[in-house]
């Protein structure tokens, strides 16, 4: 029997001292610059092989094997520059002196339950802002805005309190894992009350998880079904690939005991279960699960007819305008000290800043156009967060400040079918991470040298630094000679340049970042054009495989290296199978596998 360990994968990995020699086949040098193999299929093969190793070795005792494979993937990604990582997000939060709010952690503010916030100025309503969202149904949620609100109303069995990566029980007393590590037995807390429907029992858990996998409204069923980028629960599928209703291996043993069976041992199961979609709602609440009529229409449930176990209840929900939550007095843990929480839905930076300096928002962000790094007076705490003050604001107030690296990586991706490895490496040579962070993002970022952020690096902080030191493409400097050299080896020169189009979000910052790269390579063998696309367009063009170079970001919803790496498996990046069969990044990296290359 195992008791629930906080932190899951990363915490147990952090102590792992054996640094595994990078370079899966020993052919790389890690001396600093130059001499990175231009044999594209070597890297693609290395990534494919490493991912298969991860999938084939799921047990807890194979942690070291997996870590080795993760490093191989990171190395293959970096050296073949199939994506060019340039920045990890750095999030900042400001709040007025009369607000007493716990510091948030690397997983982000959407994990923070606001019953822990106190207002010392006598106000009874906590005021925040949020982005627009159309609903608060846990299984429909795929964005930060809705999950910020959902976290207040609904709760999963386990959580990362305040987004700090140390897992804690929320609705369970503990759990047991069977000998073969495939059956989880959860012991539910007794006396947990829903807002409307009385006490929570095991049947509610079974219903909620069935709904998450079976309902046509669910957008994240794969988090329950797939593995290792999800739970990997045992289930049956019909001819069309849909889950057979009732076949999910979740069972209520008695009122307070639930059993979950997974296909393979999977160290990330508990981490995945923190995701909002696994939140518990009362059995039979909505009729989108076979065998249930539904007490309320889904149309109402997703907006105002909410019913969860969280510290707040829904009061007002006007889409694109405001959300007001009121305190749930029978909450099973600490009842909130405020009477209500109000979210004004504001997205425009000018409006956001106005709303904040009017003191209408108690906790807020400062748009980059109004942000001045010299106003920060902060020092690092034991978790590497910058804690201090910021000020003065326009209204004369000095406010509290918290800055912390988040589990988000920003990158330029390349479609391997359209862009050869020499050109990709040229981009890596001229990329100056620090310059992009400072000049384009006003210093609000952390330079990236890998895809997996340092906070969840498989071999811990020392391992990360070692990997960072071996960065082969002149980190933080513009190495035009290196770029010219590698381009010339492929026959691209000033007179006969490689032409490429870079597609970014509709965003000045990403255009500026790409523009920096364009200007450095122009006249040196690569001529680049910039274009912008709406997010949806970018994604669907990614599916079609007709992007050459594009900007995107990846955010980790829970602490797991696999949850970022599954998208690099070369066979999973085949865009011809997207979105139906493949869910990797839009790289077409499979074209460089030795089994697919012509030579």
């Amino acid at each position: 029997m195992l008791s629930l360990m906080g932190g899951g994968a990363a915490a147990s990995l952090a102590g792992c001292s054996a640094f595994l020699d990078s370079g899966g086949d020993g052919t790389t040098t890690s001396s600093g610059t130059g001499d990175v193999s231009l044999d594209a299929s070597q890297w693609a093969d290395q990534a494919q092989e490493a991912w298969e190793t991860v999938v084939d070795n799921p047990g807890p005792d194979a942690q070291e094997t997996r870590n080795e494979a993760y490093l191989d993937i990171e190395e293959a990604v970096r050296n073949s520059v199939i994506v060019l990582n340039f920045m990890h997000d750095f999030s900042e939060r400001f709040w007025y002196d009369y607000v007493d709010v716990p510091k948030i952690g690397a997983l982000g503010q959407s994990f923070q339950q606001l019953n822990t916030v106190e207002l010392t100025n006598g106000d009874t309503e906590l005021n925040r802002t949020n982005s627009t969202h159309a609903h608060v149904d846990p299984i429909e949620s795929d964005d930060e805005a809705s999950s910020t609100v959902i976290t207040q109303i609904y709760e999963p069995l386990v959580t990362y309190p305040n987004g700090v990566p140390e897992m804690e029980n929320q609705l369970i007393e503990g759990f047991e894992l069977s000998e073969d590590q495939t059956t989880y037995t959860f012991n539910l807390k007794e006396g947990v009350q829903f807002h409307e429907s009385g006490e929570m029992t095991a049947d509610d858990v079974v219903y909620s998880w069935r709904r998450m996998t079976e309902s046509e409204n669910s957008v994240r069923a794969n988090f329950m079904l797939s593995s290792p980028d999800g739970v990997g629960a045992v289930h049956e599928t019909d001819d069309e690939g849909n889950v057979v209703p009732g076949s999910l291996a979740v069972e209520a043993v008695d009122d307070y005991t639930v059993e979950l069976e997974v296909r393979n041992p999977n160290p990330a199961v508990m981490d995945v279960l923190t995701y909002t979609a696994f939140s518990i709602i009362p059995e039979g609440k909505v009729g989108d699960v076979e065998g249930y009529e539904g007490e309320v229409a889904h149309q109402d449930f997703r907006v105002t007819a909410t019913d969860g176990t969280g510290p707040f209840e829904m009061d007002t929900f006007e889409i694109d305008n405001e959300v007001r939550l009121t305190t749930f007095e029978d909450y099973h843990d600490e009842v909130a000290s405020v009477d209500s929480v109000h979210f004004a839905i504001i997205e425009d930076p000018e409006a956001l800043f106005t709303y904040a300096v009017e003191q209408n928002a108690d906790i807020f962000g400062i748009p980059t156009s109004y942000y001045d790094p010299s106003k920060i007076d902060a020092s690092a705490d034991d978790r590497g967060r910058d804690v201090g003050t910021y000020g003065e604001l326009e209204n004369g107030e000095t406010v509290n400040y918290l800055g912390l690296p988040e589990l988000v990586t920003r990158y330029f991706g390349f479609n391997a079918g359209n862009v050869p490895i020499e050109v990709r490496q040229a981009f890596a040579y001229v990329l100056n991470q620090q310059e992009i962070v400072d000049d384009v993002f006003a210093g609000r970022g952390v330079p990236a040298y890998s895809f997996t952020p340092p906070g969840i690096w498989p071999t811990g902080q020392d391992g990360y630094e070692e990997f960072q030191d071996s960065y082969p493409f002149s980190p933080n400097e513009t190495d035009i000679d290196g770029a010219r050299e590698v381009l010339e080896s492929a026959g691209y020169t000033e007179d006969d340049p490689f032409e490429i189009t870079c597609t970014t979000y509709v965003s000045n910052t990403y255009q500026d970042a790409a523009g920096l790269l364009r200007d450095k390579l122009s006249g040196n063998g690569v001529e680049m054009e910039l274009e912008e696309a709406q997010f949806g367009t970018l994604v669907s063009r990614g599916y079609e495989g007709n992007l050459e170079m594009y900007s995107l970001g990846w955010g980790w919803s829970w602490e797991s290296v696999a949850y970022g790496h599954f998208g690099f498996e070369p066979k999973n990046t085949d865009t011809s199978g997207m979105p139906a069969d493949n869910n990797g990044y839009y790289l077409d990296w499979h074209t460089e596998l030795s089994e697919n290359s012509d030579s």
């Binding site: 004004a344 997010f535 994604v539 139906a580």
Partner: protein, 337 residues
């Protein structure tokens, strides 16, 4: 041809216009590069979830069936939003935003009318005087300033009035308001105080939205007056010995209005597009912003319904324009036998 037959004909003509606009929109959004499923699910979605949503939205049906369903939904204002308000009935989404946009548009048209036209007439009646120069130059300056910049400046200045920087506090002049942004007018119209608050909340946005048309009305009003003032019938009226007051109001004013009518009705159309920027900066939950989001996220049912509504409105305004012509200028249209 009677006046009513004339209007009826205009209305009938609107049907093919509506039809082709909707068909065009359907083709652009369905065959264009935007994918509603990708927009809704984001890059972390799995293939299975994406194909299920595709099925659920009916995107796997033959295009012809999709087209028929789209058109039926439009005409009956049924259907659900795909992305922007995912799952919300279109009628509900529009109803929740249209009031505030109408309120904004109402003031954005009304304010310029009562400022721009009188100023233009004032300048036109006193050509080449100091007053004329001041009015004309300030009108051109006003026209030259882009809406988004004006909106940002208005916020920056008004929020600084809290400490009395400029000798007044916008937040407490008249009815109190707590914020310049994100405050939707209640539009309950149940008390004078409530109406005043609603006006105050929308006022900065409305003035900015109407700024361009205010300047246009001023300049065209001035020219129109200048033209009529030298017309023969004015001379005749003068020769008859009419009081200049009567000449101005009965003869010059009414004739000068004619070129202004299409300007004013076309403004309504410009306001619909212009409201996107102003609604965004002032964080007003209106139809302009909703339309912008819907069209950029390939939310076909929602974008379609809003365009349908806009088209209806424009057709209606065109008819209204013709009607106003007949009122102001008896020579127009109804009797061409």
């Amino acid at each position: 041809m009677s006046r009513w037959r004339y209007f009826f004909k205009r209305l009938l003509l609107a049907v093919p216009i509506l039809f082709s606009v909707m068909t065009f929109l359907f083709i652009i959004l369905r065959k264009g590069p935007l994918d509603p499923v990708a927009a809704r699910l984001g890059p972390q979605a799995s293939g299975a979830d994406a194909s299920r949503l595709r099925e659920q939205l009916g995107l796997n049906e033959p295009l012809w069936d999709q087209y028929i369903r789209f058109m039926t939904d439009l005409i009956t204002f049924s259907g659900e939003s795909w992305v922007t308000r995912a799952g919300q009935p279109v009628a509900e989404a529009i109803a929740s935003t249209v009031q505030v946009t109408v309120w904004l548009g109402f003031w954005a048209i009304l304010l310029p009318l009562f400022i721009g036209i009188p100023l233009g007439f004032y300048a036109g009646l006193r050509p080449n005087t100091i007053g004329d120069y001041v009015a004309s130059v300030s009108g051109i300056l006003w026209l030259a300033m882009p809406n988004f910049w004006l909106a940002v400046m208005a916020l920056a200045i008004l929020r600084r009035t809290r400490g009395g920087w400029f000798g007044f506090d916008w937040y407490t002049i008249g009815p109190d308001i707590s914020s310049l942004v994100g405050q939707s007018p209640s539009l309950a119209f149940d008390s004078l105080q409530g109406v005043l608050v609603d006006i105050k909340l929308i006022l900065p946005a409305a003035i900015i939205l109407g700024s361009a048309s205010m300047a246009a009305e001023l300049r065209i009003g001035r020219t129109a007056i200048l033209e009529s003032i030298n017309a023969k019938y004015v001379e005749t009226a003068k020769a008859k010995g009419l009081k200049s007051r009567t000449i101005v109001w009965k003869h010059i004013f009414r004739n000068a209005l004619i070129p202004l009518i299409p300007i004013i009705t076309n403004e309504a159309f410009i306001l619909i597009g212009g409201s996107v920027i102003v609604e965004t900066v002032f964080s007003i939950n209106g139809l302009g912003r909703l339309y912008f989001l819907a069209i950029t996220q390939a939310d076909l049912p929602l974008a379609g319904s809003i365009v349908f509504l806009f088209t209806l409105l424009i057709v209606f305004l065109n008819v209204l324009q013709d009607f106003l012509y007949t009122v102001v200028d008896p020579r127009v249209g109804v009797n061409n036998e």
